[in-house]
């Protein structure tokens, strides 16, 4: 399990133990975290699982693929340098303690 903190649009924090190999989107949906839709089920096809990764963690993640970057260019909320699609971030031991913030709109 990898502990990830999600900060919902209203500011409340949810600490969730994410099984290794799960995406941050899957864990958020499963636990009913507010602020993530994840309509397409993790296919990088809907851009409704947008999150902001805290600065210190953003650079430690594997780089986003072209497809993810193109989807990120079109997210509903503000696109920032730390924007990622949470379906493309897989939980692994080295991400323990990571904090992600969820935007107030996804679609």
């Amino acid at each position: 399990m990898v502990m990830i903190t999600y900060i919902e649009p209203n500011g409340s924090e949810q600490q969730i133990d994410v099984p290794e190999g799960w995406s941050l989107m899957q864990a958020a949906l499963s636990n009913g975290v507010e602020g993530i839709e994840g309509e397409c089920g993790g296919s990088c096809a809907c851009a409704t699982c947008h999150c902001y990764v805290d600065d210190t963690w953003a650079e430690r993640l594997p780089a986003a693929a072209d497809n993810e970057l193109e989807m990120l260019d079109n997210v509903a909320a503000e696109r920032r340098p730390t924007s990622r699609l949470s379906c493309q971030i897989k939980a692994s031991a080295d991400l323990a303690g990571m904090v992600v913030r969820l935007p107030d709109v996804q679609s």
Partner: protein, 405 residues
Amino acid sequence: MNAPIVIVGAGQSGLQVAESLRSEGYDGPILLVGDEPCLPYHRPPLSKAYLAGEADEAQLTIRAPAALAKKQIECVTGVSVVAIDREARAVHLSDGRTQAYAGLVLATGSRARPLPVPGADLAGVFALRTLDDTRRIATALEAARTVVVIGGGFIGLEFAAVAAKQGKQVTVLEAADRLMARVVAPPVSDFYARLHRDHGVAVELGAQVAGLDGVAGRVSAVSTADGRRFAADLVIVGIGIVPNTELAEAAGLTCERGIVVDECARTTDTQIVASGDCTARRLPGGALLRLESVQNAVEQGKSAAAALMGRERPFAAAPWFWSDQYDVKLQMVGLSAGYDEVVIRGEVEARRFSVFYFRAGALIAIDAINEAGVHMLGRKLLDKGHRLAPEQARDPHFELASALT
């Protein structure tokens, strides 16, 4: 206790209605009734990541029980609704119970269209629709060597890609003269035929299946009307879906290619809404539109919840779909039927291009192949009614984004 809002069907659309009722401010009881033995799950990954072994069942489940409980959504599984009594405002359940409702949602989904030929009921012949189907297919696929896919649509081709990647000998039989003929233009069909052939899949077009042969009750071959025979120890049938309208029809609701609803997901009974694959939406012009997609399940679900709360939240966005085959992502927006002009932009050989569809000079749809940015831009263009001329799409130096202003 007050009667709950009863949602028939615990798929993605049924769950969406339940959650949207909460976000619309409804604080009464909600009962979600599903005939599958499991909680609502993501269906699209079944023919993709799940079958490829990249996601397990727990990852497909949309909400864990605690998340449903938090929103006070009661979900009963393995139970179907057998009849609706509109006068009494109650449904009869397969476990013998009668359940009163304050409002009723039909999110009954669809089932695989059965193959109308002899031998379709042999062991080793599967439709790919539910988690249970997929579980059994995954097991059968391990032991299979020769696989025949009947139907060259999204489901069949996604399955063919997974099977080919696992080193199986795969044949796709498509009755039409090209793949995905119902939804894409010839250049896209041709691209996908080549893509599959490059991966060793035999793509047989104009192949009308006449029957399936078996040995000791297990499928062994598929025969076509022109007398060809294809050996098979696993057959996947992907020839479309049938909307589950029987309950609605028996209850006297108007059904035509689906449960007929308006743009706000309302049926002909003010207490009953319907959403997802089971519906046919009456467009302002009078035509009926049946969409089989996640977007439809979600957006109509939101409309249905709002309608039960007495609000109008029409589903008006351009339809979008996607399909993953090998390392190629097809993303489609709009409905291309009735196009009179096609523009191809990008590099087909590099597997990165888009097809723009026009009718009378107006953009009506875009199929993007490995061009997510073009797809997303297309959604904005179509949703907001921006103009893009064919010659602009054709001009490689024209910035598509400039059409948004």
